[in-house]
Every structure is written in structure tokens, then in C-alpha cells.
Subunit: 414 residues, 2 copies
Amino acid sequence: MKSELDRLMKENDVTGIWVTGPGQHNPAMVYLTGGGHLTQADAIKPQGKELLLCHSSMEREEAMRTGLKTLNYNIYPLKDRLIAAVGDRLQAQALLYKQIFEDLGLTTGKVLVYGLVEAGIFHSLLKSVQALLPGLSFEGDVEENVISQATATKGPEEIERIRQMGKIVVTVVSRVADFLTGHKVMDEVLVKSDGSPLTIGDVKANINLWLSELGAENPEGTIFAIGRDGGIPHSTGTASDLLRLGQTIVFDIFPCEKGGGYFYDFTRTWCLGYAPQETQALYDQVKSVYEQVVSQLETNRNPSIYQDLVCELFEEMGHATVKSNPATETGYVHGLAHGVGLNIHEKPWSSRKDDPNNLLVPGSVFTIEPGLYYPDQGMGVRLEDTYYVTPEGQFERFVDYPMELVLPMKNERG
Amino acid sequence: MKSELDRLMKENDVTGIWVTGPGQHNPAMVYLTGGGHLTQADAIKPQGKELLLCHSSMEREEAMRTGLKTLNYNIYPLKDRLIAAVGDRLQAQALLYKQIFEDLGLTTGKVLVYGLVEAGIFHSLLKSVQALLPGLSFEGDVEENVISQATATKGPEEIERIRQMGKIVVTVVSRVADFLTGHKVMDEVLVKSDGSPLTIGDVKANINLWLSELGAENPEGTIFAIGRDGGIPHSTGTASDLLRLGQTIVFDIFPCEKGGGYFYDFTRTWCLGYAPQETQALYDQVKSVYEQVVSQLETNRNPSIYQDLVCELFEEMGHATVKSNPATETGYVHGLAHGVGLNIHEKPWSSRKDDPNNLLVPGSVFTIEPGLYYPDQGMGVRLEDTYYVTPEGQFERFVDYPMELVLPMKNERG
């Protein structure tokens, strides 16, 4: 939680935190400032002191709205810095940071750097800043000890925002189910009222529209993959594909609040009309593993143990898994869990076995998402919900939604 | 244009280009690969050779869809790299890049690095990669000489995509005008059919919905600012503000193709019902400057000369400008023009006077956006269209839309 930041900085011997980049769609910036329409900003927090939000003059009102202490870049005029830097724009930019850090009294110790940036230009800039401030050591939070650790547990307001996103997600999912099953069918293919076939592109356009209508957005897209595509976990589906009865559909939806806020992550696997026996069998196995792992969740444990558990369960059923073969492309081919917050994927991780702080504790928000993939058999099955741990240590699913594989068509004849 | 990449690399003594980060909402990646649902990818292009797209195993199908040469990260198993790196995850990641670069024969010379990344972690990673490949020099394209130079001129297909976005923008703008003017008015305030006042939040919700319906998204938000907010160029407007007759509304809309493609940038300033005399006067000045600058556009010129021209014109009218006072917060307070493409702001720039390649040439796509701002008088005026230069050197506006200040209400009585 945000209230832990100073303690985490102290424990990790961090003098300052520096978050740079845009105000929105930039998780660490949104976390510290609440987000705002800032093209470029810098949020700098010395250990034990108030956060300072640095902004351009044009964006002073947006910066002020955050309620934070602010600094307008133009108090260090670019003209003067360009003269000092002999016309070198990058050096003039580095001089700005030198002045800001010095004025904050940040001149020795470790500064952790966060934020979404353009890779090469920022790397070059940071090298220049580093040269100008030799007493500071600018580093990435590779061990996820400070902001990533703070964000790994959510407070009540964050939990509520994620729950709202969960409600939006199941509203959209139920509209999609309703939309699909209301179609006519000709030769096993869903057709629109004009007789033309319904495509995945059509379905996705509706998903985007409904998300927007409900105040959400899906910056990372939506997976709606049928048949073989569903057998590849991150295949998003082919827009021109038709919807055929009996084929498996993997529908993985992971939108966030409009403007780049909190995410929610959710997957169901569906067959329209009926399910072939082998699909039902695969589905039953995934569902059984899902239920077993959920029933065994305990606090203060590293989620990697549940990844191991799921691999063992699937292997007992005869499937290949990433545990015995990390490169497998059939069977169980990914991780079981990841944290969800301002990032769609964040701490805690089911892949982070050796990090003592990577634990399920009160305030953790994370997915459970076992799956089995057989692209050559034209199918994949994944089931996913987002869970959280209550202050009392109970594991709760944010929102319930039916898990049935088969969605019966309301009107199967064309 | 993309076809210039090898020439630009050669002229700038660049051995390789490395673009990293997600497949979408990552301009350099979308430019080189066409975009795709890739959580993490690396596009690497040695000078004079084919681009290689590196991807995770789960995302192999999305990578294949690009039609590019691909490499699955798992051919260099993480397990082996972790052993070599004695469990250090960052070092194991650096070893992956070492192997990829070596296998591509990229071991000496300058590599320009691009892509959207998490600042600190990437900086730490790049330091490790740099240490493992001492013959290479990893740098940012600070001078905008290679990818940013290639993207600064658009080919016919890109021009068409931007034109389509322009059509979507004016469709949404005309719906907004229609929506606003169709409201009833009580005591100078627009009211909904239930008698409650219409808010900017309501208007923005409709803008988001219409953009989504038309296949666009606005990752950077929309400026719809009334009264004093309109006097601050980057104030996005206050959701709870009401719509009052006679107040100035600055409506700046800059969406992109769904999934993070090409942008369009457009601004109109409106008064609902009527315009106070001083607003009309300010508006007339901005419009006159807009028309003068457009009539004087010539190819092969640095757009900074039009910024100077606009400053001179506004100063003759008695306004402060950034030319005489870079920190001014009233009068003309920003730049006149910026390129538009996969970034909402890109080369060419009206602020880049000393770059010999920062020119308006056939294929350039850029904004013209003069404005005047007087927040303390509760008003701001900006007019903006996106232009391009045809292969024949003609300057064309992508789409036309009326510039009138006053939108007459269809039914002024409540």
C-alpha cells in the first residue's frame, strides 16, 4: 500500500524515487499522482518527504488538480539551460534534472527510476543526468522492492475500483453471451439478420463499444479466439473468423478504467450450441484443477507453490507442462497467477519463487488461470478469475460469473 | 518513409536498430512490425538486412501474422541463462540479448534503441547488455535521424489511414455539435430532458462512445474545456462543469486507430448560442493568423519559420508570445505545429529550428494550430487542422470542417 512507501524506501536504502513519463497509461505515475492529462511529468519523492510533481507550464492546471506539491519546469528556463549546454538539447534537459534534484536536496544515495519512457532517448538522458550527479546512483527497481512492492497490496479504495471493473467485465461478458446465442445458425455458422456470417471482428467491435459505454477501455486488446487460435494462449483471434457451433472459444478480457486506471482480468471458454466430447473432457480437467487450487489457497504463501501444484495435477492427468518442459507448446504452457492493479500483470507473480516478499497477503489482488492448449487439435481451454485477500485473510473472487462450457443457442435454425 | 531506413542508417553510421517493448501502443514497434498483440517483443534490424521479430512462445502466432522473420525467445532457454547468470534474472535477460545480437552478427558499431519501456528496469538491463557487448554502442536517436526521420514522411497508405482518422474525427465533432445544440436551455445552462444540467462529463462519455463505435480510441484523452479551463492549453476540462451559453469551449480531439495506430489532431473553439464581443474579437484574430500562415506554407522550409511568423503576427496585434517571453501564460503560449503519425506529436516540429532535416516536404503530415489564451478573462481560442504535403508539393487539409465560433441552439427555451 502507498502508506508503506517510506518504510520500503528506508528498508531498501533508497534516498529517492523518480517517476517520469506521461500522466496517464503510466502505472507508477498514476499510482503516485492519481493520473492526469500530463504529456510529460516527473514525480520525485525523497525518502521521508513529500512528493513533488514537476510539469510544463501549459499543464499547470492539470498538475494542480492532483493536489500535490508542484513545480513548473519553466522556473529553470530552457533558454538559460541551452546556453549552459552549448545548444545540446539532451544536455539542457539533463541540467533541468540536476537542478530539480539538487533543489530537493537529493545529491547522494540510491534513486530508483520508474515510468514509461522512450527507451533509447531516456537511456541517453539518464547517462547525462548520472554524470551531472555523481553522488546519486540511478537504478531500476529490478528486485521489485519499493513501488512494485507497495502496489502489490491494495487498500480498500483500490479494491473497490477493481471490483467495479469486475462488474463492468461481467456485464460485457454477459452481453456477449446474449448477443452470440441470439443469432440464427446456418450450416453450423452464426449468421446476422441480413444472412451474412457473424465474424470475430463483429464481436470485438461490440466488446469495444460496450466497454466504452461502461467507462472502461482495453488498451491491450481482447482475446476472442476460436478453434486453433484458442490453442495459442496469446492469440487474440482472427477478425475474419466465423463463429461455428461446437468450436471452442477462449474469451479473455482485461480492460481498465478509462484513462489508464485499474485493470481486471477474466477468461471463460465457451462452445456455442454443443461441445464435442474431447472438448468437454479437456474443459472438465481445467475446471477441476481451477477448483482444487482455489480450495487450497492460503495466506503468506508464495503463489509459485500453486503453479507447482497445478503442474503436478496436470501432469498426473497426462499433460505436458512448463514444469517438466519450459518450452512446451501443448498442455499447460504458462503461469497460473499474476497480480492485477494499475498494470495488467504485476506483483505477486507465480513465477517468482525466490523473492521472500512475493506473497499472498491481505490486500493482494491476483488471477487464478489454469489452461490446457492443443492447437493442432483446434482447441484450448482457459478459466480465469481475479481474486483478492480480505483484511481478515479470506480469499474472495471479486465477481461471480457462470463457468459453463456450452452456451445453448436460443434459436438454432436459420 | 520506411523505404528510407537503410539509407538513413548508413548515412548516420548506424549498424543496427533495436525496438523493444509491447507490440501495440508503441509507435516505433507498430511502425516496423504493423502492430500485434505482443506483450513483449524485440524488433532488430541490422543495416542492409531483414528485420527480425523476437517474441515469446505464447505469442508465436501473433508474431507470425506480421509476416516478418521471427525468433522465439525460447530457443535460448531461460533455465540455461539463469544458470549462467547464477540466478540473477536481469543478467539472464541480458544474456538473451547478447545471444540474439551475436547470432545476427551485430557485434560492432552503433545500435539505436527505440520503444516504450519501464524506465529504470530497462536502463539497468541496457547497462548489463552494454557490458556484455562492448563492441556495440547502444544509444538513443536523440537527433531524430533514423526512425523518427523515416516516420516524418508518410507513404500513400499512411496518408490514407490518417485521412480515415480525420473523417472519423469530423464525424464525432459534428455529432457533438448536433448533440449540444439539440439541448434545451434554462437560465443560460444546457439541460437534459429530465431537467438536470448537461455536464462536460456527459459530453466526454458520448465522445468516447462515438469514437469507439467508429473504430477509434483516445488513449491520451480529449480536451473539452469551457471558460477559464479553455484558457489553459492542456487543461482537459472539468467533468462536473456545466455548458453555458456564450462561454468559449475549446474542443481538441486527437484519437488514433483502435489498438494504437495513426492519430489525427483537430481543434475548434465554440460558443453556444452567442459569442460575447471580446470572444468574437479574439477568435477573429486567431482565425486571421491561421489563414495567413496556411496561405504562406511552402515546401522545403523548416516549420519553425511559421512559428516565428505567427509570433510576429500576434505581437503586432498586441499579444504576448513565447517568442518574446518563453514563460508567458497569456497570449500565444505554445508551438504552432507538430508532425502527426503513430505518435500524436512527432517530427517535423515547429520548435526544431537547427535541424536541417526538420522540413515540410512531400509526405509530411503536421498540424497548424494557432491560439490565444486569457484564463483570467475566462477564455481561450484555438483552431487546428491536420495538413499534409502531396507528392506534387501541394499543402492539403485532410478534411474540411466549418470554423464558425457560434453554434446556434436549435431550441433555446426550456
